[in-house]
Structures are given as structure tokens and as C-alpha cells.
């Protein structure tokens, strides 16, 4: 082996060791900022302003964000701001009275004067129209959540990127939902 070659070899191994060492150091530093648990994306319903971007900006079509219903928060009103068009003619399930563009909310009579509202998730597109209505003049029991059976858990959530109120946050996979409710009036 010529002199040049052996010198080259020496330089190469020195560089290799220093690269390995810096990679190990980087790993060590990062370990200090790492946790065992996985992270998933979720919507903080208290920050959400129902802007409607969840429906349009998810990488999935339709979006992995759906409306969920916190039943313990619901007032079971006949006149539901989340179900009925603002200018509805009558309080029934007719198309002209429904707010939901895909008719994804099922309205069921329980007892006078209470109605149960249930989201049909296969139809829901996460447009937040009902959320806006329910939050504005109801209890806010309808709200958006990322559904983890659908979400691909992108490295950077495309909705988080455009959310105007930074409501899309990372939560630990052990507690993957931020569902409203458990609410007790003062």
C-alpha cells in the first residue's frame, strides 16, 4: 500500500470516527428531549373557532376530523343550533331545515321536548357548521375531533399548518382525545 493510500485510509477512518461520535452525541442530546410515548394530533375544542379548514386541508378526503358529540354536555333541545338552519321553517328533519350539508346528524325523539343528536361519522366531513351553531347558542356539546381510526398521523399535520387558532396540538397516544364534557354546572 502506497504512502498516499495509507494516509488516505487514516484520514477516512478519523473522519468516520468523528462522524460516528457526533451522531452519537446528537442522539444523546435528543434523547434528553424524547419520550417513550407516541404522539398523535388532536383538536383542542376550546381553542377551535370552527373555521372550516379541517374539512378542506386534511390530506385525507374526506377529512379525518369529524364532529363528535359530548352527550353529557348536550341540552337535548328541540331547537338545536347545531342541527337546524338559522332560518328554518319548522323544527324537523326536512332538507330545507338541516344545517349539515351531508345530513350527517341524526335527530331522534327521546321524550317531550327532548331530542338526541347523533353524528353519522361515515357521512360527516368535518366542516364544523354544526359546531359553530352549537357553540354559538348551545352548550357546545358538538365539537371537532381527529378520529384516530382514520388519521394517518402525518409528521406535520396539514390542518395544524393552517389552523388559525393553533387548536391542533400533539397529545400522547395514551390519551388521544380531548372530548368536552364531564361538565357540572356550578
Amino acid at each position: 500500500m502506497s504512502k498516499i493510500q495509507s494516509r488516505r485510509k487514516f484520514i477516512r477512518s478519523i473522519t468516520r470516527y468523528s462522524l460516528g461520535f457526533s451522531l452519537a452525541a446528537l442522539t444523546g442530546f435528543s434523547l434528553g428531549k424524547a419520550t417513550k410515548s407516541e404522539w398523535v394530533w388532536q383538536i383542542d375544542p376550546f381553542k377551535c373557532t370552527s373555521c372550516g379548514r379541517c374539512a378542506t386541508d386534511c390530506v385525507l378526503n374526506p377529512s379525518a376530523v369529524k364532529c363528535v358529540h359530548a352527550y353529557d354536555l348536550c341540552g337535548y333541545c328541540d331547537l338545536c343550533g347545531g342541527y337546524l338552519e338559522p332560518g328554518h321553517i319548522s323544527r324537523d328533519t326536512a332538507a330545507e331545515n338541516q344545517l349539515c350539508p351531508t345530513a350527517a346528524i341524526e335527530r331522534r325523539f327521546i321524550e317531550a321536548p327532548y331530542y338526541e343528536y347523533k353524528i353519522k361519522e361515515d357521512l360527516c366531513i368535518g366542516c364544523a357548521k354544526c359546531v359553530e351553531g352549537c357553540t354559538a347558542f348551545g352548550n357546545g356539546s358538538l365539537h371537532l375531533q381527529v378520529r384516530h381510526n382514520l388519521c394517518t398521523n402525518c409528521n406535520e399535520c396539514a390542518i395544524a399548518r393552517v389552523c388559525p387558532s393553533d387548536a391542533v396540538i400533539r397529545v400522547k397516544a395514551e390519551v388521544p382525545y380531548l372530548i368536552k364534557g364531564g361538565f357540572t354546572p356550578e
Binding site: 462522524l19 451522531l23 407516541e38 354536555l73 357546545g140 395514551e174
Partner: protein
């Protein structure tokens, strides 16, 4: 209003519809939402024994599955290393890579991958409060260590982005060397910007402009779908365009691979200079023997080498100053900076604009001052980051220039360790140690 309803209790329930009507009206007069939780209408006490349904909470992937992903990655890497270094089988590398494409690409939808992991690690290191998951860190680090020992094994078979491009290579053309070398700068530049944008907590540009992830998910925005398809179409002729001319992780792997302790070789023993492998590599990653007389460095080359070396510090400083100075433009990608700029330029927009961002900002507790303070902080991060990025780019240009005037004598065909993806195509071409290779037959024919 809620107070009144609460205290009035049941007697008011009859009038609730009227009140709701008023509230309805109010909604359209006063836009914006009361985000605080308010039990305006208490939950009824049901008489018919109605039971509250549970809100459905479908779980994310079963915990522990990420360990499985990691295991698959390690297995694929280990198996390919063995295939490339010992078994020398292109065919098996191919099938392993198809499996990785199906698993990491189509089954796991391409997230998380080490390429994007660059950004997670940068954000965790430089950003405040970002917490990395160990899986992501492992995904980022393991391929790098493997590369340090065995070359770019990850590119050969484990990377779904690389594999999908590799599969569509049909009629690769040779690009002019100078073009390849110039375009080869882009991955480093992209890497620099990706780290800057991740470290400032702005956005993950690598993920944002990943052309293939939409294909894995079978759904993407129109522009990204077009981009992905174009990359694949171009990939028929220009082999692995993303890997060679964009991939920021590939830039790191290239450096690591150059200094790897072992690496795939074209020939298992001694090269016989049969020239068969000359056209085997679609990525132009084979260095040919060179004619020393023709190509030896001249005095002019020496002078240039000295000049370029001396220019490196100048380039670093110039780059640092220039890129840091451009923080104004760079930082506008950050939503806070963008919004603050908009509002400070024209405060009237706060009240007039119907832009969602502005409306949300106005409804929030944040003041313009707080926004500007945040935005200024982001900008100062960009300024600081700009120094490093600019210095890095200056160094990159300087080193690339010095490389062009250094001469290395080669007497055999060998892989360029930086560019080689260890796909093993060239191994198929090499006749050494293969008695039934057509080359030997031809040879015999010639002799007879």
C-alpha cells in the same frame, strides 16, 4: 344571558325557544364564538329511562406497533446489508425493496420516515418544548449508523420514496457530469432550509413538499399529485430524480457513506477492467479509470485549489451575512410573522378584513403587541439561524469548488461511495467469479 337562564330554572324552559331565537339573532349580529364552556341549557332529567350514549373514541394504532415498525426497519437494513456485502444478489435486494415499499409506503402511508425525522430532531434540539418520540429518533439515527458501516443501504431497499422511483427506472439517460454535480448541491441547500424552518418552529418543508406520500396515501392535493406523478414520469429516464437532486436526508447519507467502513463493490475480487459495468448504473455512480496524463492536475489547478481554499472563509462570511440579512423574507412563512406584518402595515385590516386568520386573531386574547413581540422573536431566530445556514451554504459551495480541482488517480472501475445507493445493479454485470457469465463465453469465442 346564560346567567339569567341558569337562575331562572325550569319555569323558563317554555320560553327557551324564544330565548334561543334571540340568541340566534345575536349570533348573526355578533360574529365570533364564545369558546368557553357554558351550560346554557342544563341536561334534562329524563323520565323515560333514557341512558346517555357514550362518545365513541376509536383508538390510534395499537401501542407497541411502532416497535414493530422499528423492527421491520432494522430487519430490512440488516438483510439488505447482508445481501449487498456478502450475498451480492440484486434480485433479492429488489424484492426486499418491494416489500419495504409495500410496508412503509402503502401500508404505513409513508409516515414517519427518516427523511422527515431530520425536522423532528432539529425542532427538538433547537425549538423550545418540542418533545420527540423515541421511535422517530430511532428512525432517524439507525439508517445513519448503518450507512457509516455499510453505505447507503437505506436508500437501496428501506426507503419507500427511493424504491418507488427505483421501480420506474426503465430507460435511464446519462446526464452531463457538470449538471449532476451542480444539481447535487440542491439536497444540501434543501437540508439547510429544512433545518432552519424546523428549528424555528415554522413548518416541516420536507413533509410539505414530499411528492410521493400522496401516492402512498392514495390521495393528495391536486398540485402535489401532479408533482408526484411528474417525478415518477421523469424517473423513467432520469433515475431517482428526488433522491439525487432533492433528498435532504440523502445529503447526510452521502457524507456518511463516503466515509463508511465497508461498502458494496462492483466486483467481488479484483477488477479486470472489462468495462461491462460502465453503463450499468442508472445513477452515474461508477467512477471510471482515468488517464493520468490527460487529467492530472495542472499548475493552474493547483493555483485554483489554493484560491478556492482561501475563498472558503470569505464564502462562509458572505453567505452568513447575506442569508441572515434575508430573514425578513424567509420568516414570512411563519404564520405569526406573516400576520403581524400584514396588521402592522395596515392596522385597519384588524377591523375590516374577513381573512380567517385576522378574524381569529381579533377574537383571541392576543394583542397586536403580543403578536408583534412573538413575530419579532421568530424573526430573531431566523436571523440567528440565517447565519448558520448562510455559513453552511458558503462552506458547501467552497468545498464543492475545491473538489473540482483535486485529482484522484483511478485504475479500476469503482463505485462512487457518495452517490451509490447500493442497489446492486452493477454486481449483475460484473463477470468476475461468474464462470457462466456471457463475457467469458464471448472471450472464449474470441480466442477460438
Amino acid at each position: 344571558m346564560p346567567e339569567i337562564i341558569k337562575t331562572a330554572g325550569d319555569s323558563i324552559r317554555k320560553n327557551i325557544f324564544l330565548l334561543t331565537g334571540i340568541l340566534l339573532l345575536l349570533l348573526f349580529i355578533v360574529p365570533g364564538s364564545a369558546s368557553a364552556q357554558q351550560q346554557r341549557f342544563p341536561m334534562p332529567e329524563f323520565q323515560t329511562g333514557y341512558e346517555l350514549p357514550d362518545t365513541d373514541r376509536p383508538e390510534p394504532r395499537a401501542p407497541g406497533m411502532e416497535i414493530f415498525d422499528l423492527a421491520v426497519l432494522v430487519l430490512v437494513l440488516a438483510f439488505t446489508t447482508w445481501l449487498v456485502l456478502k450475498r451480492r444478489s440484486r434480485k433479492l435486494v429488489f424484492w426486499t425493496s418491494v416489500f419495504a415499499l409495500l410496508y412503509f409506503g402503502f401500508y404505513r402511508n409513508g409516515c414517519i420516515c427518516p427523511i422527515g425525522g431530520v425536522q423532528n430532531v432539529s425542532l427538538a434540539l433547537f425549538g423550545d418544548g418540542y418533545i420527540l418520540s423515541l421511535t422517530v429518533l430511532a428512525f432517524f439515527v439507525i439508517p445513519l449508523f448503518v450507512t457509516l458501516f455499510a453505505g447507503r443501504i437505506f436508500c437501496a431497499s428501506a426507503c419507500p420514496l427511493g424504491v418507488i422511483q427505483d421501480l420506474v427506472i426503465i430507460k435511464p439517460v446519462k446526464l452531463p457530469q457538470w449538471l449532476q454535480r451542480t444539481l447535487g448541491l440542491i439536497p444540501f441547500i434543501f437540508l439547510g432550509f429544512a433545518v432552519l424552518y424546523a428549528a424555528t418552529g415554522t413548518t416541516f418543508i420536507i413533509c410539505r413538499y414530499d411528492p410521493f406520500v400522496g401516492i402512498f396515501r392514495m390521495g393528495a392535493s391536486f398540485s402535489m399529485a401532479i408533482l408526484g406523478v411528474s417525478f415518477l414520469a421523469a424517473g423513467i429516464f432520469v433515475a431517482r430524480p428526488y433522491c439525487r437532486f432533492l433528498c435532504p436526508y440523502g445529503a447526510i447519507l452521502r457524507v456518511f457513506s463516503i466515509f463508511s467502513s465497508r461498502h458494496m463493490s462492483i466486483t467481488p475480487e479484483e477488477c479486470i477492467n472489462c468495462k461491462l459495468c460502465e453503463d450499468s448504473c442508472p445513477f452515474d455512480a461508477i467512477d471510471y479509470p482515468n488517464d493520468e496524463k490527460k487529467n492530472r492536475a495542472t499548475k493552474a489547478d493547483y493555483r485554483r485549489f489554493v484560491f478556492y481554499s482561501a475563498a472558503i472563509p470569505v464564502l462562509i462570511i458572505a453567505g452568513a451575512l447575506a442569508v441572515s440579512g434575508s430573514y425578513k423574507l424567509l420568516s414570512k412563512v411563519h404564520p405569526d410573522v406573516y400576520l403581524a406584518n400584514l396588521l402592522v402595515e395596515d392596522p385597519g385590516m384588524m377591523y375590516e378584513s374577513d381573512m380567517t386568520e385576522i378574524e381569529t386573531f381579533m377574537a383571541s386574547d392576543r394583542t397586536l403587541e403580543m403578536l408583534v413581540a412573538d413575530a419579532t422573536e421568530v424573526q430573531s431566530r431566523f436571523r440567528r439561524g440565517g447565519y448558520y445556514l448562510g455559513g453552511f451554504l458558503g462552506l458547501l459551495i467552497g468545498l464543492s469548488l475545491t473538489q473540482q480541482v483535486t485529482f484522484r488517480k483511478r485504475t479500476i472501475y469503482e463505485v462512487n461511495r457518495g452517490s451509490c445507493y447500493s442497489c446492486g445493479r452493477c454486481m449483475e454485470y460484473c463477470p468476475v467469479g461468474k464462470p457462466d457469465h456471457p463475457y467469458h463465453k464471448e472471450d472464449n469465442n474470441n480466442h477460438s
